[in-house]
Amino acid sequence: MSSYRLEIRVTPRPGLLDPEGAAIQHALGSLGFHAVTDVRVGKAIYVDASAVSEGAALELGEAMCRRLLANPVTEDFEVSLHQPTGAEAS
């Protein structure tokens, strides 16, 4: 068993309206970020768990999503192993 950090992204289904995304897009616009064409807001859930392998860890994450973390009626999910990418906040 080793321990993994799963990054789980739960996002509103495409086509489903996303009031929070709309509000943020509006706010970004009024702050002058006019290049923005769309904003969607979901959850980023970081789960530390122990598993026998990466594959097993990912499966565990998917099982959690199906059981609890995502609402099948309104949300999609993505599970990945967390490795910080892009720009880190200082």
């Binding site: 489903l16 309206l17 009031p19 929070e20 509000a23 959850k43 609890l68 973390l69 609402n71 009626v73 309104t74």
Partner: protein, 235 residues
């Protein structure tokens, strides 16, 4: 003759006592059930109160639906027992698949606390029999996640089978967008399951049961429910 209603308290429920008193006010017997209970005992109806079960963390109702008591509630509903979920209770019923669809963040992305008008769309149910067809009720809402959503097929079924119990309307019963506080599809404020024994609604009828509270329009829902529980002839 018992007309006993179980009011389920989840961690974070905060309308459980209001519901308990509303049932008593219309002559019913009310008993609390704790979310860790595994049995409902001998009751005639189950009420899921409003509040913030588990702080509404993750999604409103998402964690509470796994409370031990919910298996008993589901079994009770499947036996045809009447189940009424109000606000957070409605959200829990949707998460538990006892009702279709989901309740999303209000379109304003803000909490809304004020009176609304709702129109009774189907008065031929356990919960609305005492209401006049198309009767308009003035009741408070208090929620941040009340925007009802369902896929087109589900909506068609709800509409086709008369399972939309209440719609947000203006005080004359007109269904307008201005009267829709949260962006719910088709102004839906409350729905029934296919069998008609499970009602979920976002507005709070239990907060409109005494003149001193500014409205008594919520009473009809509780009198209807209790009447439906009474043995034939006795009500």
């Amino acid at each position: 003759m018992t007309r006993k209603c179980a009011v389920v308290t989840f961690p974070g429920s905060n309308c459980d006592y209001d519901l308990y008193k509303a049932v008593q006010l219309v002559g019913g017997e009310a008993e609390f059930r704790w979310h860790r209970d595994t049995e409902l005992g001998n009751v005639d109806a189950v009420l899921l109160p409003g509040g913030f079960s588990y702080g509404d963390y993750l999604r409103a109702g998402a964690i509470a639906r796994f409370s031990p008591i919910m298996d008993a509630v589901t079994a009770f509903a499947e036996r045809g027992g009447p189940v009424l979920g109000i606000c957070n209770g409605f959200q829990i019923l949707c998460e538990a698949d006892l009702l279709p669809g989901a309740l999303l963040r209000n379109r304003t992305v803000r909490f809304h606390s004020h009176d609304v008008y709702i129109r009774a769309e189907n008065t031929d149910t356990l919960f609305t029999a005492d209401l006049a067809a198309g009767e308009v009720l003035r009741v408070p809402i208090a929620h941040a996640d009340g925007q009802y959503h369902a896929d087109p097929e589900t909506l068609a079924a709800l509409e086709g089978q008369g399972r939309v119990a209440f719609r947000y309307s203006d005080r004359n019963g007109e269904i307008t967008d201005a009267a829709n506080p949260n962006g719910s599809v088709k102004n839906i404020a409350g729905i029934l399951n296919a069998r008609g024994n499970v009602l979920g609604m976002m507005p709070h009828p239990e907060r409109a049961v005494e003149p001193v509270l500014g409205s008594t329009d919520g009473l009809g829902i509780f009198t209807s429910l209790l009447r439906s529980l009474a043995p034939a002839g006795s009500a």
